[in-house]
């Protein structure tokens, strides 16, 4: 395992050459291909891409949450700067014990579907208490309750006592998503991975959750990885954008520049097809369909749908070009 003594200053999490595959019907289906990703202290990065491009897989990989018999993450490193000692650990290589101290304590995850983020047959109170107790052995009941109530209030869930005494199915989707935001922040993590936190909610609630998320970000000094297929949402919150296509990062850029002038043809198409702000977030019409993971073996994965593509694009895989803070992988782009 490669060791790393230093990370760029201010950097808190760095995924390096992450590849992932699922095992399905006896075959290995590659989903992520050498993805590099980095997150600075208090930064919010947005990860954009169509359905099936591997966004959720990336989120799970960062916490090693892909089950052993479901698939695997291989080849890469995930460096993380620990809070206490400023020590750098490699999440991809640490032992199980250490991993448990990272999950939920240093890095939290809010999943895509609020209806499946809580155990349906256990009261929220017990689920919160359990998550609190694993990271605060010997805690005082009073401290726990104060912490939970203040969190629930900060995500606009009142009254805390009543919410905690409920079973998940007694709350609405929006309330559940708030509850799972509160759950994610329970142990004061420094990084929050939000995997499409609003995509299964309707638009008015979506807006409120985004507001809440922005509040929480400044309230708790969070670094956020915000995953969405909706570039509107990303533009609202992210400082930098990663565009994922068929399991590869095809463009990285600071938000301001990206939304003004995308370099990769795919980003350009994505941006052009943006629905008006506030309309239901669905990527409208991009010609063709996103390739199945592993379907494209040679050349640029986007070539078949790209209006600039020529023979070269089908033959050679475009390398990542870098200029200043921007990176893009296209033979034709700027």
């Amino acid at each position: 395992m490669s060791e790393k003594q230093s990370m760029p200053s201010g950097c808190i999490l760095e995924g390096e050459k992450l590849s992932a595959e699922y095992f399905s019907a006896g075959k290995n289906i590659p989903v992520l291909k050498e993805v590099d990703i980095s997150l600075k202290e208090r930064e919010c990065i947005g990860i954009a891409g169509e359905s099936g491009c591997g966004k959720s897989t990336l989120a799970l990989s960062l916490l090693r949450l892909i089950d052993e018999d479901e698939g695997r993450v291989f080849g890469g490193n995930i460096f993380f700067r620990e809070k206490k000692h400023e020590e750098i650990i490699n999440i991809a290589a640490v032992d199980k014990h250490r991993l448990l101290k990272v999950r939920g304590k240093e890095i939290s995850l809010v999943t895509q579907d609020p209806y499946t983020s809580f155990n349906p047959v256990i009261k929220l109170y017990r689920q919160f208490r359990e998550a609190y107790s694993v990271h605060n052995p010997g805690f005082e009941e009073k401290d726990f309750f104060l912490r939970v109530s203040s969190l629930l209030e900060s995500v606009n869930l009142y009254p805390p006592e009543k919410i905690l005494q409920s079973y998940p199915h007694q709350l609405s989707g929006g309330m559940l998503q708030r509850a799972s935001l509160a759950m994610a922040l329970l142990n004061e993590p420094r990084i929050l991975i939000a995997d499409e936190p609003t995509s299964s909610l309707d638009v008015t609630i979506q807006k409120k959750i985004m507001e809440t998320l922005k509040n929480l970000r400044s309230l708790y000094n969070l670094s956020i990885i915000f995953i969405s297929h909706d570039l509107n949402l990303i533009s609202e919150i992210a400082d930098r954008v990663y565009v994922l296509y068929a399991g590869k990062v095809v463009e990285t850029a600071p938000s301001a520049e990206f939304f003004k002038d995308p370099y990769h043809p795919y980003s350009a198409v994505l941006l052009k097809s943006l629905p008006k702000l506030g309309a239901r977030g669905r990527i409208a019409s991009i010609p063709g369909r996103a390739p199945q993971p592993g379907a494209i073996k040679k050349g640029c994965a986007f070539a078949p749908r790209c209006s600039y593509a020529d023979g070269e694009c089908f033959r050679n895989e475009p390398p990542l070009t870098r200029s200043g803070e921007r990176e893009w992988a296209c033979l034709k782009g700027k």
Binding site: D69, L100, S117, V134, H169, Q170
Partner: protein
């Protein structure tokens, strides 16, 4: 649900018995020490020469007041006969249920946690054998080995001859040693069924997103399995309990006969062999009622265990 099922069962029981050739009176006529007058009195008393549906309705209206009539063989009240046999059957089945649950839960958990590892495969083979094996043959073999060959355990009845003279703990121990072989044999089939069921529902639950979400909170694997997954897997098990019950009660006919266990199952067997109508019907009704009560309890338990139903 209960009422029509009960009705159906009594109808089936009643008509099967009466449509078949050979009346109980024929049976009695064979025996030399019964005089003709007694036979006629019997026929009148049970109304055996009236039309079937009338017999059924007179019978069912008596059944409603728990009056099953008297045995053809010894003239004792059926209710009494059943009442004295019921405790033994309940004891046997409760003990086997206890065995089943206390073994099936760990087996199910272990094989779900060690999914596809060696131990899971070994357990899977055992479980498969467990429900392919003819458990009454196992009962006989156990009986021969532990009872006859080694002489460790009694092989028949519920108490020893000297039971009356034992101390309280001596009595408990005596019954317990008589109970071991029948209870183990009765448990085999249910054990295999339940551990398999639990394994597959644990595997199903453990793949759910909410388990992954809990894992993302840093909750150790042990509590994920023992707390989160088990809670969810247990709920369908409660219904399975309802399915297990008829099999157990039916099984008690076989195992009580093998081990001469003085329970209702053996009573049923004896009554069937003797064509003792009132007893057969009484036992049938009680068995059905027990099954229904079990099912009812399972439904109530299910509703109590699953908050999603409770609040609907």
């Amino acid at each position: 649900m209960m009422i029509p099922v009960l009705f159906g069962i009594t109808v089936i029981t009643f008509f099967i018995m009466h449509l078949t050739p050979g009346s109980p009176v024929d049976g009695l006529m064979m025996s030399p020490d019964v005089d003709a007058g007694a036979i006629i009195r019997l026929r009148d008393a049970y109304g055996l020469d009236r039309p079937l549906h009338i017999q059924y309705f007179s019978w069912i209206s008596r059944v409603a007041t728990l009056n099953f009539g008297s045995s053809f063989r010894d003239g004792r009240k059926v209710t009494m006969k059943i009442a004295e046999r019921l405790p033994a059957t309940i004891l046997l089945n409760v003990v086997s249920l206890f065995l089943i649950f206390s073994l099936a839960v760990p087996i199910g958990i272990i094989s779900a946690v060690k999914h596809n590892k060696a131990i899971d495969k070994i357990l899977a083979v055992c479980v498969f054998a467990g429900y392919s094996v003819p458990s009454f043959v196992v009962a006989l073999i156990l009986m021969m080995y532990f009872g006859v060959e080694l002489g460790w355990l009694p092989v028949s009845g519920m108490v020893s001859i000297n039971y009356e003279f034992l101390t309280f703990w001596g009595k408990v121990f005596d019954i317990a040693s008589h109970l071991i072989l029948p209870a183990v044999s009765t448990a085999i089939g249910g054990l295999a069924f339940l551990s398999r069921y639990l394994r597959s529902s644990m595997l199903e639950v453990i793949k759910q997103d909410y388990i992954k979400a809990a894992r993302a909170r840093g909750i150790p694997e042990k509590s994920l399995v023992l707390f989160h997954a088990l809670r969810n897997a247990f709920i369908p098990m409660i219904t399975v309990f309802g399915l297990l019950l008829p099999a157990l009660i039916g099984g008690s006919v076989v195992f009580e006969t093998i081990f001469s266990w003085p329970g209702m199952g053996r009573l049923a067997y004896e009554a069937i062999m003797a064509r003792d109508y009132p007893v057969v019907m009484g036992v049938g009704v009680i068995m059905a009622v027990l099954t229904l009560i079990g099912n009812f309890l399972a439904d109530v338990g299910y509703a109590a265990a699953d908050p999603r139903i409770r609040y609907e």
